[in-house]
Structure formats: C-alpha cells, structure tokens
Symmetry: C2
Subunit: 135 residues, 2 copies
Amino acid sequence: MRGRLTQAGLRATRQRLVILESLLVLPGHPTAEQVHRRVAAQSPTISLGTVYKALDSFVAAGLTRRVASAEGSSRRYDADCSEHHHLFCTATQEIIDYCDPQLDQLIREFFAERGLQNFQPHSFSLHITGVKNQG
Amino acid sequence: MRGRLTQAGLRATRQRLVILESLLVLPGHPTAEQVHRRVAAQSPTISLGTVYKALDSFVAAGLTRRVASAEGSSRRYDADCSEHHHLFCTATQEIIDYCDPQLDQLIREFFAERGLQNFQPHSFSLHITGVKNQG
DNA sequence: GTCGCTGCAAAACATTTGCAAGAGG
DNA sequence: CCTCTTGCAAATGTTTTGCAGCGAC
C-alpha cells in the first residue's frame, strides 16, 4: 500500500493511504464523493478537496485511471491501470472490470491486419452495456 | 431535418432545428457549450439552457446519444445513434466515429461463443485511444 | 529544514429547475 | 386553444484554486 505510493513517486501521507485503500475496496468504480464518504467514515477530518487532489495525483502518477462513462454527472475512477474492458450495468449504474487476454488478442490481431486510416491506435477498451444477473 | 424531429415525437421548433443541425455538423462530438456557440452565431437569442433542454429531449427521444469520455468535464453528444465505435485522439481531444460491420460481427461471435458470467450484454462499443495522423 | 500536501473557503464551471410568456400542431 | 417549449434567472452540483500551516522524508 505504502509501497505503491512511493514507487509511483508520491509521498505516502496518511490521507493518501486511506484514499487509495478506499478506492481499491469500493465496487463499481466510485466518484470522488463516494470515495470521500467511505474515507470520512474512518477519518472524518479528511476533506473532499483532499480526495480530489489525491485522486488527481494518482491519475498523474499512473496509479489510477479515469473511467469513461456516458451517464452520471461525476467523474469515476478505476484503481486498476492494466488494460481491461468494462461492463456497464444500466440497472445499477455499476461499472465492472472485465479482463480477457483472448479478447485483447482478437482485437489486436484484427487491427494489425486491417489498420485504421489516419489514426495510430495505442490502446483498446471494449464497453459492454447490459444488465447484471443475480447479485 | 424537420422530419427527424416529428418522427421522433418532438415538436419541430425553430430552436431545435438549429440545434440539431449544429450537432450534426460539428466534428468531434461537441459539448452543450460548443453547440451553443455555433447556434448563437446564427441565432443569438437561443439560450444555453434551451440547448441543454433540447439535447436532453433528443437523447430521451433516441435521436442522439451521450458519449462516454474519461477526460474533460463536460458531457459530449453524438448525433449518430446507430451502433458504432469511437476513436479518441489524445492530442486534439476529438472523438471520431468508427463504423465497421466486420468488427461488430467479430465481437458478437466472440461473446456468443464464450458468454459472460452474470451479465446479459446488450450492446458493444470499442474505445480506441491513440493519435490522429495528418488532418 | 525543505518542499509537497492538507484543510478550508471561495471561485469557477457545468447542469438543472421553476415559471411566466410565446409558439407549434 | 391546448400543450409543449423557450428564455431568464436562480438554485444545485461538481471540480478547481489559493494560501497558510503541517508533516513526510
């Protein structure tokens, strides 16, 4: 935990440790507000502004990503920076990570063969919209 | 133009006609603010609030979609509601439509064969991040 | 010690809402 | 005409900023 921060070149402050831990634990890719709610439960003095600044610093350091989403008015964050895809549940608004090396390869092969006119692709992320079953 | 609106069950007001036309013409999937700037150039009395309401009504009527994007603080809109994919240019922040029936089929086949645990997929959209070449 | 980080409060944006007046069918 | 839409302005929500003081290294 502490190591993740220092390795990324960030000071391991008490606040950042709590914020990073909350981001990792919260399901569905939370907003700054949601992270703050969980953080405030154990450390009520950590301000919302600090959560915003900490999340920004995580993104700048490559520890965290911003998640693309069409609905909702707030930005959402993803602690996982490896290449992966997302399931968007239209019922719960949850965003679920989906990892699939075979799918990655399929897409990479497709574009290696076909290419894109006037565009140099760098990374691919599939957005799958639908509804979650069960719990 | 007028037909698109009435067919979608919306009143074809002067404002909506101008707003829809601007949305269709503007490149890169504009924000409400960008649509308003273009609209105001020819009809300075159309307010930003009206642009927001008109865009919302287009989305509700299925004429327009909101676009998922990770960067930027404003919502962006896409006049094209058919299934398609997006190229995200990290240099210009543009979002370019990418249509490819072969890719659609590849993805659909992949998931038909493999399936997803606890998730009922409805639609797929590939986000390709990279940089645009040339103009 | 130094410099980056935090907390607070204010500012800057972005979006929504309420309502009287106007326009579409 | 009746109802939906507009324009305005105010309210609400989200994110950023400035800065004095604190804390990590």
